[in-house]
Symmetry: C2
Subunit: 220 residues, 2 copies
DNA sequence: ATTATCTATAGATCTATAGATAATGC
DNA sequence: ATTATCTATAGATCTATAGATAATGC
């Protein structure tokens, strides 16, 4: 009788016919991601998640052990990947620093600007996940891989040795990118804000490249 | 009878004698800040706040209209200042860029490493305040004031004009500082993590200064 | 009389479970 | 028989209010 999101009357009791069946678990996880991103874990009720999909709240317990398990499933499905971070594949042009860094940034941007990634960012900016050990590790892994690049470039004479440690250079390069991502590439940002954020990041990379690699890349 | 935080038996009914009176409102706000920082708004109950101070939960309504009002009072008291941002006072040495930027960073660090500021950071990293209009504005104000500095320095020939726009330079300078603050200067960070964060920030500033102002500052 | 606390409680959630119901697939 | 849903409900919170109680300050 009651009209709901799924667009129709409330279901009757009993298993629904094949024609109406969907991937309920996936629908629930998706709804949960959106609601957790908007209202946080404590601010999202089991009831709200089920309602969003147009189902009775008890159906959640057929798919998840409890509310916490829903959150963990969302993180496992959409959460930060631990593997395949930062490397851009085996080696397009890692020995030409400036273009390589630009390509790295572009790749990251493409990944981070996806809706799913933005929802995840909003979720992390609630619930304190920004400070969770998991994210800190993912971030530090990413940072280490960039440090390794600078170390190599210093050895190869592509970066003035007196400029700073590989650690410091890596932070100077990734900092503005990471900050802009956290602050602007989230679920509530408008398309305009996101476009500005992407431009800011690319401008930073260009400025960084000019300051660190000087005219070397452009002229020699 | 029940022992509580304030260290004693539960109060009896009736106004407490002068000897036991404290600034209840301030105590409540302080407890609320800590709990909101740890568990978020929705994850913190009125009950938990009162309990933390060792009072009955109904006492909260003598001091605040409702739960939301507690949150707003906490933000008003501890929240991001809109005024007196970034300027370091009228003018210590704004025309010698490198030392000025270093002083700017040191001042910010001192402010941000205070316990209260760290609690606020944790609070913002829950409840989505990181993406609130209020913080975005505070941040953009800070950024603009740094942009103005770079603009002045470019005009004065202290920064190579072809390096990048004032906007881009400002982001390249403040990005690593802001990111490190958000990620490391929060309530749950250990003293070691915070020390590393402070060192990272100062290293970045040094690297930035060398890359952007080159030997000019050191030698001429 | 006013102020600052308490106790008790109403009413609204919220999580989770038990048990009914109807379609499916063997 | 199994699966995927529902209805109904228990029990635990949670917010907020009403009304009692005792110290304070005039």
């Amino acid at each position: 009788m009651t009209v709901d999101q799924r667009g129709g009357a409330r279901r009757r009791p009993g298993r629904p016919p094949r024609s109406e069946a969907g991937d309920t678990k996936a629908l629930l996880q998706n709804a949960a991601l959106r609601l957790f991103a908007r209202h946080g874990f404590a601010g999202t009720s089991i009831r709200a998640i089920a309602q969003e999909v147009g189902l009775s709240e008890s159906v959640i317990y057929a798919h998840f052990a409890n509310k916490q398990a829903v959150f963990e499933a969302v993180l496992a499905e959409f959460g930060p990947r631990t593997h395949d971070r930062g490397e851009l594949g085996p080696g397009p042009a890692a020995d030409d620093p400036a273009p390589y860094l630009l390509a790295l940034a572009r790749t990251a941007l493409e990944e981070w600007d996806r809706e799913e990634a933005r929802l995840l960012m909003s979720l992390m900016a609630r619930d304190g996940l920004l400070h969770s050990a998991a994210l800190q590790e993912a971030l530090s892994a990413m940072r280490h891989s960039v440090e390794a690049l600078f170390e190599r470039w210093i050895e190869a004479g592509r970066v003035r040795r007196d400029l700073g440690t590989p650690q410091s250079l890596a932070l100077s390069f990734t900092g503005p990118i990471g900050l802009t991502r956290i602050m602007c590439l989230h679920a509530e940002a408008t398309e305009d804000q996101r476009a500005a954020a992407r431009a800011d990041i690319l401008d930073h990379v260009a400025t960084f490249n000019r300051a660190v690699f000087g005219g070397a890349t452009a002229r020699s």
